[in-house]
């Protein structure tokens, strides 16, 4: 018998863009920074990335199985979370800590709230904050591996991050701008190489995965704030997790506002909070907390920034 005609609701044409393709583009955009991490921090950086990605994907797989939901590992979002989580860890950390981080990110933050698109905070960042408070000895102070430690013969293989040094007043030990731009400084394994992160960001903008609104507003706010306070603007831009956060974490679709006006408010808020924490709080670095705090504000921001429907009279507020 001849097959019947398919009847469906219009439109009958799709752009061909899929969640999987978007995630693949993000993974490609993260590759320069991943490569830089391997060069700067050696094989241990690669090990952490592999462990983190594998445990995130495994967690997602098991979660979906246990919850009897359709499996979503093929959308590659767990791979992105795994990479971002690894980028937020020091290269010399115990891989088991990365596994724990993956469980927090995927099981607690993502799947318990319903999976992709449903989490209200960034999974990788939340996991980083949980790890920071659970394992402070491994993720703060002077425990950060120094660049090229794996071929160094120096006694001390770890040091503080540039912002840590700044907070302690040891400004003479801060690397110069070029070293900072190329990533030769202490810090999380994926956050140090500004060049690689910017390349990734440009790729995402060119591929129209993100608009430059959030990164530009976020970084711009930090620069302006820093300038007004008479701080070293370039140091503020190149240190900490600012570029990683502004380009890859604050632009997360699920946890940032959906339209332009909201995105601007969100990004400026992230910038202000980052600088407030850096300048006035006891932590040397504030990107993670500021993004998470602004993630929580998103529903509120969106309520105030809904676009006005074309030709529709504004709502009359009843007295």
């Amino acid at each position: 018998m001849e097959k019947k005609l398919i009847v469906s609701s219009s439109p009958h044409l799709r752009s061909g863009m899929t969640t999987q393709k978007i995630m693949l583009d993000v993974i490609i955009a993260l590759m320069p920074a991943a490569a830089a991490a391997c060069v700067i921090f050696g094989w241990s950086a690669l090990l952490i990335m592999v462990v983190s990605v594998a445990s995130c994907v495994l967690c997602e797989y098991i979660c979906r199985k246990v919850m009897k939901r359709a499996n979503t590992i093929s959308d590659l979002s767990a791979v992105v979370t795994g990479l971002l989580l690894a980028f937020n860890l020091p290269a010399n950390i115990n891989p088991l800590i990365a596994v724990f981080g993956a469980v927090v990110a995927i099981v607690v933050v993502k799947q318990m709230f319903g999976g992709i698109g449903q989490n209200f905070v960034n999974p990788a960042l939340t996991a980083r904050i949980v790890l920071m408070s659970s394992f402070p000895a491994n993720m703060s102070g002077t425990c950060w591996p120094i660049p090229f430690w794996y071929k160094s013969s120096a006694d001390a293989l770890t040091s503080a991050t540039p912002l840590g040094l700044l907070a302690e007043g040891k400004t003479d030990q801060i690397p110069d701008y070029l070293q900072m731009f190329l990533g030769a400084r202490g810090g999380c394994l994926g956050e140090t190489c500004a060049l690689a992160l910017l390349l990734g960001g440009i790729y995402l903008v060119v591929r129209k995965v993100i608009t430059p609104v959030i990164p530009v507003c976020y970084i711009g706010t930090v620069a302006l704030f820093s300038l007004c306070l008479g701080r070293d603007v370039l140091l503020d831009l190149l240190s900490g997790g600012l570029l990683l956060g502004a380009i890859f974490m604050a632009t997360d679709y699920t946890t940032s506002p959906i339209d332009l006006k909201g995105k601007i408010i969100f990004a400026v808020g992230c910038g202000v909070l980052t600088m407030l924490i850096r300048v006035f709080a006891s932590l040397p670095e504030g990107v993670s907390y500021s993004i998470i705090l602004m993630n929580i504000m998103v529903p509120l921001i969106e309520r105030g920034t809904r676009p006005k429907p074309f030709g529709k009279e504004p709502e009359k507020h009843e007295a």
């Binding site: 001849e2 097959k3 005609l5 398919i6 009847v7 469906s8 609701s9 219009s10 439109p11 009958h12 044409l13 799709r14 752009s15 863009m17 899929t18 969640t19 393709k21 978007i22 979503t72 959308d75 979002s77 319903g114 999976g115 992709i116 698109g117 449903q118 679709y253 699920t254 959906i258 339209d259 332009l260 809904r306 676009p307 006005k308 429907p309 074309f310 030709g311 529709k312 009279e313 709502e315």
Partner: protein, 446 residues
């Protein structure tokens, strides 16, 4: 006054770069030979259905009025072939509703009725009366009776005629061919409308993917002999879907925003499809009412895609046979374009007045992706020409929250499908919005 001609189109929000697939744009239209039978449903327009004026067994001639209605918002129907009324029966329209239809068995002669003679038109009232008698409906696809549109209510004044040659739907090239093959009729219709309705300017809006149309129309419109006061100009638009949607088009041409629930007339504009305008000119010259239509036949299942001028009421299957038949088994047949067209259940339906395309797709293009969860990427929001948040409309439709739906402007949605086209998660957003609108209607009638 803002009655200048814009140098370039005004900014409109959103839109999408849909693939054009204008495969038939360069091909001369073919004229379909007389079909063996035509089926003329009593509803081929927005408004009240017509009542048959003929009975089974009657002989009819081409152009003879065979059905009409007393209602104001309606348009009469004319025989498109000569022959015998073989049945008055019920047929299903593409949307699924059943209406009465007159079936005419053709005698193959195409004898023209003696009633067909040019109308005498000297005033706007004459024009409106003539347009009503011609059976003209909006040929862009909406099917709104044209005489209603031309009859501007007291208190409103029109200053601008916008001729819609955007044709932003992929595949469809019927308006494109009309503008090329009947450029003189288009301009003649434009001058008639301008003079009788006392319009101050005419903007012929063409998407810039049709440079040949722009050139052909400009050659006539920019001729100072024809248009000494320079009241008619061609405006190239960005080739961006949905540029031809009425509200978007009016904004692109005049920067005026049509309020929700209002018509172009409320902002002084008259928007007419190019084929409607050309038909009007020909009707005033010959008196032949709307009995045939140029239809783009295309899609991966069709052997020889082309534009065909067919008698209205010809079965789709017969028109496709004329185009060489199916080269692959069809799995989806659309009446209209792929963005807003209706998927048909069978190719035994007749061509209607407002049809501009029939697309038949083989297996590969017929299926749709399985939806996955919304990732809030915002592509539906940045693409929406009506500034809506489609993903929220879907959410509130699921929750049956009609109050929120109305607050979010669901009634502004014209179902252009840009959000669904862009959605990486394959969400059925337009489907949800249609359901949401139905919920509001239901809540309103309680």
């Amino acid at each position: 006054m803002d009655l200048m001609f814009p140098k370039k189109p005004y900014r409109t929000h959103g839109g999408a770069h849909v693939p054009h697939h204008k495969n038939t744009a360069q091909m001369e239209s073919a004229v379909m030979p007389c079909p063996s039978q035509v089926i003329l449903p009593m509803q081929q327009h927005v408004g009240a259905p017509c009542k048959p004026l003929v009975a089974k067994g009657d002989t009819v001639l081409v152009g003879q009025k065979i059905a009409d209605s007393q209602a104001y918002v309606s348009a009469p129907i004319h025989a498109s072939v000569s022959g015998t009324v073989s049945a008055i029966t019920q047929v299903m329209l593409p949307g699924g509703q059943f209406v009465e239809a007159i079936v005419i068995d053709s005698d193959g002669q195409m004898t023209v009725s003696p009633d067909v003679k040019p109308p005498v038109v000297e005033t706007a009232e004459d024009l409106i009366q003539a347009v009503r008698e011609s059976g003209l409906v909006g040929l862009g696809g909406a099917g709104f009776p044209a005489h209603v549109k031309l009859n501007v209510p007291e208190g409103k004044t029109l200053d601008t005629l916008i001729v819609n040659v955007a044709e932003c739907e992929p595949y469809i090239t019927a308006d494109n061919r009309e503008a090329l093959e009947n450029s003189w009729a288009v301009l003649s219709g434009v001058y008639t409308l301008r003079d009788l309705l006392h319009l101050k300017r005419v903007i012929i809006a063409v998407e810039d993917n049709k440079p040949d149309v722009i050139e052909a129309l400009r050659k006539i419109a920019d001729n100072p002999k024809m248009d000494p006061e320079d009241t008619v100009r061609v405006l190239p638009l960005k080739s961006q879907y949905p540029q031809g949607a009425e509200k978007v088009l009016v904004q692109a041409c005049t920067n005026r925003v049509i309020p929700l629930g209002k018509l172009p007339a409320d902002v002084g504009c008259l928007v007419m499809n190019v084929t409607s305008v050309a038909f009007l000119a020909n009707y005033l010259k010959t008196g032949m009412p709307l009995v045939s239509k140029r239809v783009t036949i295309d899609g991966s299942a069709v052997e020889y895609p082309k534009n065909v001028i067919v008698p209205i009421g010809t079965k789709i299957s017969e028109v496709i046979s004329f185009c060489g038949g199916y080269k692959k088994p069809p799995r989806k047949i659309l009446m209209g374009g792929p963005m807003m067209g209706i998927a048909l259940t069978t190719d035994e339906l007749p061509i209607l007045k407002q049809n501009n395309g029939i697309l038949a797709f083989a297996e590969e293009e017929a299926g749709l992706p399985e939806p996955t969860e919304c990732i809030r990427c915002g592509r539906c929001v940045s693409g929406c020409p009506m500034h809506l948040v489609p993903t929220l409309l879907e959410k509130y439709t699921e929750q049956k929250d009609t109050e929120q739906l109305q607050k979010l402007g669901i009634l502004c949605c014209m179902e252009c499908g840009t959000c669904v086209f862009n959605c990486p998660a394959g969400r059925p957003l337009v489907q949800a919005i249609r359901l949401g609108k139905a919920l509001i209607r239901k809540a309103g009638t309680k």
